[in-house]
């Protein structure tokens, strides 16, 4: 991957001692993390280790039990509804199952966040922005289609386009390649990199797909037993002698 300009002095997301439990299940047990401006951070881990919980806390969809979550200089857990809405304009969230509004066409899906957050926009301007963002994900021809008529890969792309329309500073991807064939996975990985370059976003990519991690991640953070056990480049992380890391690697590449 091409060397990118990552500002290591500017942490756009800073998490300190984050804890989250669901009943007796302690998912996050004191997570510390910093994500820097312009960086693609991949969070790896097995299913059920709290990867999605982490980004849902960052976007304010879930509440932490303890700890601090600072996003773009604001403590998420202390924000009121209005301030949280403002912050969310700057944080895009791409859902694992795309979460497209199934009663709306692709056009309406993309318009939805734009119309709700820029109520004075003219129809012409809305159309231009929708077409521009669809072009960015390479799906201009689907504009009048319903989500049910799209393939899994197309749905992922439209989901990403819907977040891009608000021009976010941070992108959170929840399992972007889950359930896709290898070729479509590579296309999605390329799209993530293109989005980062074109929109200059900072991204957190949640995945357990090592190909996705290798292609998109500037840095890898491995979530094990509710904490980030190891962080670094892809090669650094998997050079670790930690048995849990090695078994994760071996399972992905020797299965």
């Amino acid at each position: 991957m091409q060397q990118k300009a990552i500002d290591r002095n500017n942490a756009v997301i800073a998490i300190k001692d984050l804890k989250k439990s669901f009943g007796e299940l302690h998912v996050l047990r004191g997570v510390d993390l910093e994500v820097y401006q312009g960086e693609n951070l991949v969070v790896l881990g097995r299913s059920g280790t709290g990867k999605s919980v982490l980004i849902k806390i960052i976007s304010g969809l879930l509440y932490p039990d303890a700890g601090e979550v600072n996003v773009l200089g604001r403590e998420v857990e202390t924000l009121n509804s209005k301030d949280l809405m403002e912050l969310r304009l700057k944080v895009g969230f791409s859902f694992q199952n795309s979460a497209l509004y199934d009663s709306m066409t692709v056009r309406k899906n993309l318009e939805f966040p734009l119309v709700r957050n820029s109520r004075n926009l003219r129809r012409k301007e809305i159309n231009v922005q929708v077409e521009r963002v669809l072009e960015a994900v390479g799906l201009s021809q689907t504009i009048e289609q319903m989500p049910s008529e799209l393939s899994g890969g197309q749905r992922k792309r439209i989901g990403i386009a819907r977040t891009l329309i608000l021009k976010p500073e941070i992108m959170l991807y929840d399992e972007p390649t889950a359930g896709l064939d290898p070729i479509t996975c590579i296309e999605i990985n390329n799209l993530i990199n293109e989005v980062q370059e074109k929109y200059n976003t900072t991204s957190i990519i949640i995945t357990h797909d090592l190909t996705c991690a290798k292609q998109t991640g500037d840095r890898i953070a491995m979530l094990l037993d509710g904490q980030f056990a190891i962080q670094g480049t892809f090669d650094d992380v998997f050079a670790s002698p930690d048995e849990r890391v090695q078994s994760f690697y071996n399972y992905n590449f020797t299965k």
Binding site: M85, G92, F93, Q96, D102, F112, N117, R119
Partner: protein, 268 residues
């Protein structure tokens, strides 16, 4: 951050008495918070006029065929069932009065509300439930849109406004059905029939029916949205949300009917 009452991950209180009893009181408290949130958000801009109009169309216009058929049949059947009893006393001329009172005071609001609970309530429960389990509601939230306002407030407003309109419509359709039955058996003219109908009705009847149907409308919308918006456990949860929405709305409609009738009778 405001306490998110709809967050399924929010901590539940420890059991005080027993799991079932605590769960029941917790549900009542949760529903109360839901209704409270509706009243907190309904008067605060931005107002979702487009969505409200769309929902009025869904609730009102799309219910018309079913409501028309049911209302019409109710009018005919009720007239045919009442006729023999009045005929025993030679009082079939009282049919229009009896029918108008029965239809306007009780049958039209109840029949309309029960049909709407089945059709609209279950639809809302299933639609919002499906949106919840497929993360569409979360997607709205992260798009800096208030999903409660867009989805819930607009639907409750729509049912609250449209059910009274549907009740009036049902009453007229049922009265028309009754007229056809009376006309074919007693040769009563249209003018005579409706003259007797309106003579038997008072302002209190119209007011109480309008008030009652507004309450029913609010109940159908609120219950449907509550169960849908708080559904969980995947597709099974969606089915359960739709089912619970209908059962709870019908139960509450009967309870409200009893209470309102008692209050109105005190003024009669």
């Amino acid at each position: 951050m405001d306490p998110n009452i709809d967050n399924p991950e929010s901590p539940k209180p420890k059991y005080v008495v027993s799991k079932r009893l605590d769960s029941m009181f917790y549900s009542i408290y949760h529903a109360y918070q839901f209704i409270l949130r509706f009243f907190r958000e309904v008067f605060v801009p931005p107002y979702e006029f487009k969505e409200i109009i769309h929902q009025c169309y869904e609730v009102g216009y799309k219910s018309l065929p079913l409501i028309s058929l049911t209302g019409f049949i109710t009018g005919i059947v009720f007239t045919n069932q009442s006729r023999p009893s009045l005929a025993n006393f030679g009082a079939t001329s009282w049919l229009p009065s009896l029918i108008s009172i029965a239809i306007v005071r009780a049958l039209a609001p109840l029949v309309t509300a029960l049909i709407a609970a089945g059709k609209v309530g279950s639809n809302m429960g299933a639609e919002l439930g499906s949106m919840k389990v497929t993360e569409q509601i979360d997607a709205m939230e992260v798009s800096a849109t208030n999903p409660f306002k867009y989805l819930v407030v607009s639907r409750i407003i729509a049912t609250t406004f449209m059910i009274p309109v549907l009740v009036m419509y049902t009453a007229f359709v049922a009265l028309f059905g009754a007229f056809l039955s009376v006309h074919s058996n007693e040769q009563t003219s249209f003018a005579m029939f409706f003259s007797q109908v309106f003579d038997s009705l008072s302002f209190l009847d119209i007011f109480s029916t309008t008030f009652k149907s507004t309450v029913f409308g609010f109940t159908i919308g609120a219950v449907g949205c509550y169960h849908g918006y708080n559904s969980s456990k995947g597709t099974e949860g969606v089915g359960r949300a739709a089912n619970s929405a209908v059962v709870a709305a019908m139960f509450l409609i009967f309870v409200e009917e009893i209470i309102i009738v008692q209050i109105v009778n005190a003024f009669r």
